[in-house]
Symmetry: C2
Subunit: 349 residues, 2 copies
């Protein structure tokens, strides 16, 4: 029986294992007192951490296992050796309907492979995608795929648009989210035929989203659309490049503020402002890659994050669980596929 | 006869035409008094601007034409209508050996199409690339391709490595530049076979560069390598995303410094530091995409830049012209192609 608002946690995932997972769940529980947890992992270790968080302990059940997927395991190894592991049990809880969402800080490749095996892709979905929340000037947008696959057909890009729109509807509470296709600015360039084809389809089909056409890399952070669609190679590179650039500018700023007595004095007076900036740029605030296109939601937290960052991933899981996203997405996808009808069949591989 | 250090300018290119081109050349001439210029465009307009810069006037010759490629022209239109245009004449001056480098702020697609037609790809090069200078924490690195083409075979990625290394040698004066292949972090992911193949070749071949393996998007700005190689779609998206993120963080900073009386006061005291930061982040400082792989060097300046930004593109042209890059690159490429021998032939399309 499904408990409302139950989240299954891979208790052993991530660089820090149970200490971060349990402490993160405790932070998220303070914000969302209606949550319950299933925590998969070594009982002695999980229990020791739960002792520190009595409120959480009362809302948690342990799914006991001694098996853990290592951060360096390849997906194939994880599938071979990981049956019954903490990652496995968390996903299985979603599959069985005992939890609404699974959250793991374990390694991405292993989690994706296992999630595909256990939750299975939704009917008529060729490839699931990983969606990231991307901070914009005003708020946030959703970017996908950020690395589930390399390359994407036009149909798969269209599917990503539907998945991203469903997630935007769930998180931003907008009925018709705006969607853009990430493209390069150079006109008339050869290649990227799949992007052009997806553009043509999205432009013409009657879909539950507002398609805005092509967007370029510098427009993502401006928040020109709610959802940015791109194949996983370029999407992953864009995400990592943005993270790196933000850190780089932060470093420039630090160096600049240390230069002279006056700049150090100014930095002291402005420290309130810098705190706001630091908060705004804190990567832990938007921690969590969401696997979309499976019969159940799995969220990947950064492996190296702390309890505060892990709590963000749990919060995200909570919001997704509230939303009935999967049912709605199933509907949207069949609308899209029906709209494309015979034409799209040719593209299927 | 080739004048040493002569740069051919597309006098009509860019959003602002001759006013920015001529003023930019004047700034660059102050820094490099040995330079001479050929300026292609409408004589009356160019002359009017040159009147304001007597030193530059004495070092310049006008290549008269009334034809100008429009910023919105498609490459095919530019080729059809642009014969004898200011862009054409600047490239032709390089072809004829009258100038070392051509610099244009005109539109990228048109410039690339025309440069390929006039300068022609180097022997055995399938595709030229566009290289960007990318600011790093410590200095700068070179990233290519940032949008000449979409997609790249393993051989083409290898060629980009040679081109980037030649440029790094010219600009950074390092005999064996470090080179990395941009890839995504997820292990064992399907696809990107061409990246894996290029990796294998670069790892094994004896080449005039130090191959460092894969790098990820967040490592570009850390300056872990001198040259980052990527196909043009992901490269263009990475470049634009980094530019957008830097602007976005700048906006956050501005907002944060305006929040309270103390933060405004602090920002006042720290204004020297902010000036350093602004200079460090000024996109005009690294203005100029370099077309590599042609029998001659062409540099694309941002169309919307001002005189200071255009001067950076001219400075870049000067450094490239000094370097004997083309001759050296020809040698390196034949070393690379010979090293790969028969194996690489299969990959040729």
């Amino acid at each position: 029986m499904q408990q409302p608002n139950t989240i299954a946690l891979d208790g052993m995932g991530g660089d820090h294992g149970p200490s971060v997972v349990v402490a993160g769940a405790a932070i998220s529980l303070e914000r969302h007192p209606g949550l319950s947890f299933l925590i998969a992992g070594r009982p002695s270790e999980i229990e020791a951490e739960l002792e520190k968080h009595p409120v959480l302990k009362a809302k948690s059940r342990i799914l006991p296992t001694d098996i853990a997927v290592a951060m360096e395991d390849k997906p194939s190894q994880a599938l071979r050796r990981g049956k019954g592991s903490s990652m496995w049990l968390a996903l299985e809880a979603v599959k069985k309907g005992e939890a609404d969402v699974a959250v793991s800080a374990g390694n991405t490749g292993a989690l994706m492979a296992m999630a595909k095996l256990i939750l299975r892709p939704m009917a008529d979905i060729e490839r699931p995608g990983i969606a990231a929340l991307w901070p914009t000037i005003e708020s946030e947008c959703i970017v996908l795929d950020v690395g589930a696959n390399i390359g994407a057909t036009a149909r798969q890009l269209g599917d990503f648009a539907m998945m991203g729109a469903a997630m935007a509807r769930a998180l931003f509470h907008i009925e018709n989210p705006t969607v853009g296709l990430l493209n390069v600015g150079v006109e008339d360039i050869k290649g990227a035929d799949e992007v052009k084809q997806a553009h043509a389809w999205l432009k013409d089909a009657k879909l539950p989203l507002e398609y805005k056409g092509f967007v370029e890399g510098d427009q993502i952070g401006q928040g020109v659309v709610d959802v940015v669609v791109v194949e996983g190679f370029a999407g992953n590179i864009a995400l990592k490049t943005a993270e790196g650039t933000a850190r780089q500018v932060g470093q420039y700023l630090k160096d600049a503020m240390r230069r002279t007595f006056f700049s150090r004095l100014g930095a002291f007076f402005a420290s309130g402002g810098f705190k706001v900036l630091k908060h705004k740029m804190d990567p832990r605030r938007v921690n969590g890659g969401t696997f979309l296109g499976l019969n159940g939601i799995a969220i990947k937290s950064h492996g190296g994050t702390d309890a505060y960052g892990f709590a963000s991933a749990v919060d995200l899981g909570y919001e997704m669980a509230q939303s009935g996203l999967i049912e709605r997405l199933e509907e949207d996808l069949s609308t899209f596929h029906a709209a494309l009808g015979a034409e799209i069949e040719e593209d299927k591989s």
